[in-house]
């Protein structure tokens, strides 16, 4: 494709992913016994949009596959076929494949042609799974091979008029054809009103005569190409002004518009801009659809356009309707219906559809796609603003509050506004958690099928918003937890029945805001964790535990690496890796994991996460001249030790004795090689922090304040620094490093 188009590839790919996600969600929601036509249409639209985009951007393989998909969907939504489990499976496979193909296109790889062929042939097979031969599948023609039912009706009632619009590419009246001659020809048929005089070959007439369309076509066949003229039958005294909306589309869609041009069909046409021929037939009333066919026919051999007359078309109708008997009947009747009513009104079938289309259009218009870097830059700038403000406030604090009242008021206003601005900017990065939750219906469906279990998935609080960065990181651990719940938590249907529980298990995924954090819970009504089993396994693995550990401690065992109580390793779980990954990911996100379990009633795993990765609740502390930030969530307590609490372990440095525990004492000045104010722990402060490796007592000079700090990466322009997870900018504009406690614990500086 040309270079010009390639800049839109990313947009197409992004959109295609969204359509795929929509499609998948809808597919999973389909009730096989009683499929909702709306849903089928929505799936069809998603597939169709992908096809349209793929075609435009030259991704022919994607267009091909979506075409096959569309063919089958088309038959489903027309209720020619009944959806089956096989079909849903095939659709899901196709949507997976499309995802892979999109990935491949993005990375410039080739997609496995065999896989495409397999999926496609399955779709084709399903689509042709009845008396209907699947002849459309191989051809690039759109599936809208509808019989041109009912477009031949001559307007027999009086009082109407033909609106004739001529819009040729060249000024035809400058050549052989004469405007007057055409007008004269028309006058032979009836009363003619010259609506717009000829200009550049364009002209409009209103012919007050109930003549057949063919008669008009005959006249204009001598004048111009068939697609350069449109005929609209107007009922009664319809004012011309109402057709202004149609004018915009005239150029591109001229030949799709005919006497039955309805308000509804127009909307659909507007929606379809850019897709030209691929007009979705159920968004249009049958009559317009048939016009599509007529237009195509005319387009194929423009030279003979004027031979298309009433002898020709019914023949064609017979041919096409022969191949699709049921449809033909349906469409004919709906077309007739349209006809009998005043043709200014939409057919009932079409009525419901356009109502949806403008809504989705409106939604598309109210959101914009912006690169994450731009948002991050905005966040940076707002952060700067906040820092500048606090610098100003610091300078102004020495001014007399009465004399400089205005300055103080102004600064107070600035503070309020900048805080609002910061919140607003932060909210741009927030996405509903549905972006993660949305994939689980599929995961659950696939897994339950594989493991012959019955599980119902409930999603609660899908609209809860959290930072985009967190959403991405949350997806892996949640998948592990859900898999685990299905594999280990929910029992087999037989076991469940025996235990007096409903055959179908329930997994609830919920998300909610709690204070400054977000709580994501996975709750299953399965067997619960088995305390004895876990303890036995812990003993086997040699994991040290106190004599009678509390439940909470036992439950945490499942997160230990290599810990699995599954009797056998399945391809779903049992290797003891998953939960380890969960705990790592969550702690990377500065989150915490809570587990509750009641034997026989189920397990609840709660993930408590900060709202955003960009802001950290921290404690600022001083060592020498430098300021450091410690994540607040990790701080257990701070204290000033007395001499009796400090012990020296030979060769291992100092330990501090706090309430029966001996904690290693880590002097921060040694870790960061600084000149401290105090080298004696008794003079400074000890901050007890919790790490995966155990508790530590950090020895610092003093605690400064509790702050919310904006996390900045050191790696953008520098590199990773041992013991430091990032940096932030303090109120005075200086950089402070954020301490990575886990690294610190492993650095083992004593």
């Amino acid at each position: 494709m040309s270079v010009d188009l390639s800049q839109f590839h990313q947009v197409f790919i992004d959109e295609a992913y969204e359509h795929l996600a929509t499609m998948e969600n809808l597919l999973l929601a389909i009730d096989l016994d009683n499929p909702s036509l709306d849903d089928l249409n929505a799936i069809f639209r998603a597939a169709h949009s992908i096809k349209g985009g793929a075609g435009t951007f030259g991704f022919t393989d994607i267009a091909d596959l979506t075409h096959a998909l569309e063919t089958l969907l088309d038959r489903l939504r027309k209720q020619e076929l009944h959806p089956t489990d096989d079909m849903i499976e095939a659709f899901l496979q196709a949507s997976d494949l499309l995802g892979t193909m999109l990935d491949d296109h993005q990375q410039g790889n080739e997609t496995d042609a065999d896989r495409i062929a397999t999926v496609k042939s399955e779709l084709v097979r399903l689509a042709s799974d009845d008396e209907q031969p699947a002849n459309q599948d191989s051809t690039p023609t759109p599936p809208e091979q509808q019989p041109p039912a009912g477009d031949e009706q001559p307007p027999t009632r009086g009082g109407g008029a033909w609106l004739i619009k001529l819009h040729p590419a060249t000024d035809i009246f400058a050549g052989a054809a004469s405007y007057d001659a055409v007008t004269e020809d028309l006058m032979a048929l009836g009363e003619v009103e010259k609506v717009t005089p000829p200009h550049d070959g364009q002209a409009t007439w209103l012919l007050h005569a109930a003549v057949k369309r063919e008669q008009l076509e005959e006249i204009f066949a001598w004048v111009c190409q068939p697609q350069e003229v449109t005929f609209e039958w107007q009922e009664g005294d319809q004012p011309l002004a109402e057709d202004n909306s149609a004018d915009d589309d005239e150029e591109a869609f001229g030949f799709f518009i005919d006497e039955s041009e309805l308000p509804a069909s127009l909307e659909s046409l507007e929606e379809e801009q850019g897709y030209g021929f691929f007009v979705e037939d159920d968004e249009l009333p049958a009559a317009t659809e048939s016009q599509t066919n007529e237009g195509e026919t005319a387009d194929e051999d423009p030279g003979y356009g004027f031979f298309v007359d009433e002898k020709d078309l019914p023949a064609k109708e017979a041919v096409t309707s022969g191949s699709k008997p049921s449809l033909s009947a349906q469409n004919t009747s709906s077309a007739e219906q349209t006809d009998k009513k005043a043709s200014g009104k939409p057919a009932p079938k079409a009525g419901s559809q356009p109502a949806k289309a403008p809504a989705s259009k409106a939604a598309a218009d109210t959101s914009i796609r912006v690169g994450v870097e731009k948002v991050d830059q905005l966040i940076n700038l707002v952060g700067e603003l906040v820092i500048t403000r606090s610098m100003l406030a610091q300078s102004a604090s020495v001014l007399d509050p009465i004399e400089y009242e205005n300055i103080h008021n102004g600064l107070a206003n600035l503070e309020r506004n900048s805080r609002d601005l910061q919140e607003a900017v932060m909210s741009i990065r927030m996405l509903p958690i549905n972006f993660v939750f949305g994939r689980f219906p599929r995961v659950v469906r696939d897994l339950t099928k594989k493991m012959h279990k019955k599980v119902k998935l409930k999603l609660v609080g899908e609209e809860t918003e959290l930072d985009k960065g967190l959403i991405e990181k949350l997806s892996d651990p949640l998948t592990h937890l859900v898999r685990n719940s299905i594999d280990h938590g929910i029992e087999s249907p037989e076991e469940r029945v025996a235990a007096g529980k409903p055959e179908e298990g329930t997994i609830t995924l919920s998300a909610s805001h709690q204070g400054g954090s977000i709580l994501v819970e996975i709750h299953d009504d399965g067997a619960g964790l088995n305390r004895e089993k876990l303890l036995a396994k812990a003993e086997e693995k040699g994991i040290p535990l106190s004599d009678n550990p509390p439940d909470k401690e036992v439950w945490q065992l499942i997160f230990a690496a290599g810990f699995s109580t599954a009797k056998e390793i399945t391809d779903v779980s049992g290797r003891g890796v998953g939960m380890d990954v969960v705990s790592r990911n969550i702690s990377e996100m500065k989150g915490q994991i809570e587990i509750d379990s009641v034997p026989g009633q189920g397990t609840r795993i709660g993930l408590r996460l900060p709202l955003t990765l960009a802001i950290l609740d921290g404690m600022s502390l001083r060592v020498g001249d430098e300021v450091f930030i410690l994540p607040l969530t990790r701080i257990l307590e701070s204290m000033q030790p007395d001499k009796s609490q400090l012990k020296t372990v030979s060769g291992k440095g100092k330990v501090v004795h706090i309430r029966g525990e001996y904690l290693p004492l880590v002097p921060l000045y040694k870790v960061f090689n600084l000149q401290p104010r105090f080298t004696n722990p008794e003079e400074g402060i000890l901050v007890v922090v919790e790490t995966v490796e155990g508790k530590l007592a950090l020895f610092v000079d003093e605690l400064i304040a509790q702050d919310q700090v904006v996390i900045k990466s050191l790696e953008t322009h520098y590199r990773k620094v041992e013991g430091v997870s990032g940096a932030t900018i303090m109120g005075d504009g200086r950089v402070a490093l954020i301490i990575d406690i886990e690294r610190l614990a492993r650095m083992n500086v004593v």
Partner: protein
């Protein structure tokens, strides 16, 4: 000759502008397009366990940027930090780095043929990072002819010698 043709001559001759700075006795020239700004030395946060010449990081309008003292790195000049200490902020593609030098002297335009290949020795910097030597025009009659060492600053700053970035795999 009017201005337009003169300008054209400059473009076609491939003349490039350089910023010159001093380090000890030597005068260095770097591509001016790599220079983002020049500012004073202030508010540097130390980073532990780094070589002496990495002074730490500063806040450049919300971006955290490392600062290197070239005087320490190349062991020239007098290491003092006062209000006259200058820092050249370099923009090297995706990276921003601050560089402390003895002083910033001039902006000069050089023809490619004015830059002669550097001998294998004689400069504080490894020849690998040198583009060549350039003779500078005299500004006043009584001045000696000056020489500037043209440095490929991007190559220098991104090298493993400087230790400014995580080296993924050392090629070769």
């Amino acid at each position: 000759m009017n201005d337009a043709t003169e300008e054209q001559a400059l473009v076609t001759s491939g003349q490039q502008e350089f910023l010159t700075f001093t380090l000890g006795e030597e005068e260095y020239a770097i591509d001016i397009l790599k220079v983002q700004e020049i500012r004073g030395y202030d508010g540097v946060t130390r980073i532990a366990n780094t070589p002496e010449y990495i002074k730490g990081v500063i806040n450049m309008r919300g971006v955290i940027v490392p600062v290197v003292d070239m005087r320490i790195k190349f062991n020239v000049g007098e290491i003092v930090y006062d209000q006259f200490t200058v820092m050249i902020i370099l923009n090297l593609g995706e990276r921003i780095v601050g560089m402390v030098v003895d002083g910033v002297s001039d902006v000069i335009a050089l023809d490619p043929d004015q830059i002669r290949p550097a001998p294998e020795f004689g400069a504080t910097l490894d020849t690998e990072y040198l583009e060549g030597l350039a003779t500078l025009d005299k500004t006043t009659e009584d001045e000696d002819e000056r020489m500037a060492i043209v440095v490929d600053i991007e190559k220098l700053m991104t090298s493993s010698d400087m230790g400014l970035m995580d080296q993924v795999v050392q090629a070769g």
